[in-house]
């Protein structure tokens, strides 16, 4: 007898979920955000279907405001996995020049929430893998692994299907689609350990380095390109920083850190006392119920 470790069991569960969806859905797609969770999810998909490439495309819902390093890794990772990469940018947001500096919450709504709905409708995807974890946030803790969305992509927490054993019901009604979260039971520490154990490539921004930064509204922002306009009194300073979560660079706060290797990053994470999503501006809207509300509106 050889007891499996928790990482082996998590890996097996995630692979099982990925395969169930491919066996039962008509047009699955994997949402790929280029973050560390996406990296793990993509790696698990490659393991699940090896030696074949994963039998679905990757979809990046782009906002044009991601870190440059993310775009570079995105294209390389898709190529290495032998998967088709679809990039969707909300044409209306593009036309109206929606940006995080001038438009606040509208930026997230139009590029991400509306952009995601558009992309899923455009390609007729009926199941979309996402890298969300239950330990991230309170309303995630109650979400099913197979989470159904109405034709307008809304989430109704009171009408979730019971999920027993490892039996997933992937049958859906006309117009409905499924969000599937293969990493539901992983914690942040599990993700880091798996990245180290499997030597999965992640964006270097997770590791500390000297980078140009500006302090704004209590967040430490990185000046990633020349669209970043300084406000009066602001100055660009080089600081040793890293990111705990990656999104649109003008909305993602860095932490000052000297952790120049993965074990050091994990060390800091374990000793740190603020939760992961703290660096993101989006969760703070609407008080504690912000994420639940966003999901009912169709945010992933």
């Amino acid at each position: 007898m050889r007891p499996l470790t928790h990482l082996q069991r998590l890996e097996a569960e995630s692979i099982h979920i990925l395969r169930e969806v491919v066996a039962e859905a008509q047009r699955p797609v994997m949402l790929y955000s280029v973050g560390k969770d996406s990296a793990v999810m993509l790696h698990l998909a490659r393991r699940a279907f090896y030696p074949a490439p994963p039998p679905f495309p990757l979809l990046h819902v782009d906002t044009t405001w991601k870190f440059q390093a993310m775009y570079a890794l995105r294209d390389r990772a898709a190529h290495e996995a032998g998967m088709k990469l679809l990039v969707h940018r909300n044409p209306e947001a593009l036309e109206r020049g929606i940006n995080p500096f001038d438009h606040g919450p509208l930026h997230t709504d139009m590029w991400k929430t509306q952009g995601l709905k558009q992309a899923l409708d455009l390609h007729g995807f009926d199941a979309a893998f996402g890298g969300a974890r239950r330990d991230e946030e309170k309303s995630r803790a109650k979400e099913r692994i197979f989470s159904f969305r109405t034709a307008s992509h809304g989430w109704d927490p009171k009408r979730q299907r019971p999920e027993l054993w490892n039996l997933y019901n992937a049958r859906k009604n006309r117009g409905e689609s499924i969000r599937v979260f293969p990493l539901s039971n992983w914690t942040e520490l599990d993700i880091w350990q798996y990245i180290m154990a499997e030597q999965i490539e992640i964006v270097r921004l997770y590791i500390a380095a000297e980078r140009p930064t500006v302090e704004r509204d209590g967040l430490l922002l990185m000046v990633d390109d020349n669209r970043f306009t300084l406000q009066p009194g602001e100055e660009v300073r080089m600081r040793s920083i890293r990111f705990r979560t990656l999104g649109c660079y003008p909305l993602t706060g860095a932490v000052e850190s000297r952790a120049a290797s993965l074990p050091e990053v994990v060390q800091e994470m374990l000793l740190t006392t603020t939760s992961e999503r703290q660096g993101r501006a989006i969760d703070k809207d609407e008080g504690g119920a912000g994420m639940e509300k966003k999901k009912q509106e169709g945010y992933f």
Binding site: M1, R2, P3, L4, T5, H6, Q8, R9, L10, A12, E13, I15, H16, R19, V22, A23, R47, F49, Y50, P51, A52, P53, R134, D135, K138, S139, A141, K142, P157, K158, R161, P162, E163, L164, W165, N166, L167, N169, R171, K172, N185, T187, L189, Q193, A197, P263, E264, V266, Q267, L270, L271, T272, T273, T274, S275, Q278, G288, A289, E292, K293
Partner: protein, 647 residues
Amino acid sequence: MADLPPLETDPVYRTDALITEDIGAYLEQHQNKGLLRFITCGSVDDGKSTLIGRLLYDSKMIFEDQLAALEADSKRMGTQGQEIDFALLVDGLAAEREQGITIDVAYRFFSTEKRKFIVADTPGHEQYTRNMVTGASTADLAVILVDARKGVLVQTRRHSYLAHLIGIRHIVLAVNKMDLVGYDRARFEQIVANYRAFASGIGIEHFTALPLSGFRGDNITAAPSENTPWYGGPSLIEHLETVELAATAAQERAFRMPVQWVNRPNLDFRGFAGLVASGSVKPGDPVRIVPSGRTSTVARIVSMGGDLEQAVAGQSVTLTLADEVDCSRGDVIAAAGDPPASADQFEATVVWMADEALIPGRAYWLKLATQTVSASIAQPKYEIDVNSREHLAAKVLDLNAIGVAEVTTERPITFEPYDQSRQLGGFILIDKLSNATVGAGMLHFALRRAENVHWQALDVDRAAHAQAKAQQPMVLWFTGLSGSGKSTIANLVEKKLHAAGRHTFLLDGDNVRHGLNKDLGFTEADRIENIRRVGEVARLMTEAGLIVLTAFISPFRAERAMVRSLLAEGEFVEIFVDTPLSVAEERDVKGLYRKARAGKLKNFTGIDSPYERPEAPEMRIDTTTTSPEDAAEAIAARVLGPWSPVL
């Protein structure tokens, strides 16, 4: 922050010192932890959320920002005065935070030096039996909370019974709120004795009882606490760290892997992907494919990092076999010498989880491991009162009801009794119309009833009847919307066949509804029964050697498939009379569409009840391009030709 001392120095939790001094050693240790999944059950006031909040807090899974938000929330909600209300941390959704109850299953994570834990937190309310069953289905252990002031309540019995029913072998009786009874040893022992008397009655042979205070932290991480010097057992955490894991025990049993997906990237590779349900497997092991019974040997266990030498229960793997044998999703690859059985009729415990009651006889999708089949549940033998465990008579099962009933599947499925294998004995039921998961069940054993009923040996058998009529018996099943032209075409076909000397009979709504089925109305259950009876009558007529023509809307694929399964291969001929709704409605020969649109007819197919188009009918008639006469001619020609092999 309130009066909850953080137990930073406690050795069972991760030591900051090790992380600071040797992160490599810490990671190595964490890398090799096992995983225990458990469920906490308790009533609203048993302090369950507080206990979970405490476990998260003590294991430092709560960060400062969350704690700050929690403090603010606690003051705003005012449920614990000025003190921190840990329940707020666990009760996630806005709706339930307002109502102060947990309404769904939530999953929480924490870890100690030895194990990682996933906690399913489920509510104690009676109407939420389904949530507890859901949370318990993946758990190795159940923590049953009891308020020390109240002792063993009806809810305690219910939770224990459900945990036992779902096959949880490790039961923890957590006598909580000991601080509120002055840590009284006699009170604790009295509760344990009461519980033991009840537990042995339902077959729980072992349980571990602990005196706790989730709020004060007694006996959570270390035991005995200062307040309970009389307690000689382990702390809650110590116990959770040492119980045997079900996944490990499953490795001891015979090998089974339900096939999830056949991996065929090219002609040279054919891999069978699945999660090993039990046992272990190595290259060279002889295996049998169930249900076909074909045997082969395992050639490779393919993995991206290089082939594996062995795979065990709980791992997701890809196997290749030495021989080209037929094997697809739904099959089970098993130890050649000890394969699981297949059957199509079972006794099972069914837990009903939908607002709409279980309809006996209706076809549902049954999903067990990777097999999905059409199945029906007979009228329950009895319903179980989860509080008293009395057997009650029941015609249906309502939301949260648990009953024992016969389950019949349209084709044999590979299974094991639930008490031997959750993976091959647990199933879910899916409504064919709403696609919702409406029930779950646990197979007890197969009913070999078909072997017990000895069919009367008929000297004049079906072959003799067919021979006498010199024809191939069959059922021409016309399906389509009301007003599509089914009866018109079927009548014309019958005339042509009769003219050609064939023995025929036409069953349609009019001659069946007025006699055989005059007791049936138009509810969903009645419509299903209507088609079932028509199917049975048609089958008897084919036994008599007849060519039967039926003209029924028969809107549901499942019911048509059910009739098809009654008949011998090739004897069910599905003819789809395809008329667009707009055309049928325009014709409206009987004025029914007008009534339905006016709301005078309920459940009218095409208007407020769906029509499921045949996916692969033997023949499709497009009535917008083909006249009834031409259609009948084409059908008759096939009956007399290709559909009737020479007898």
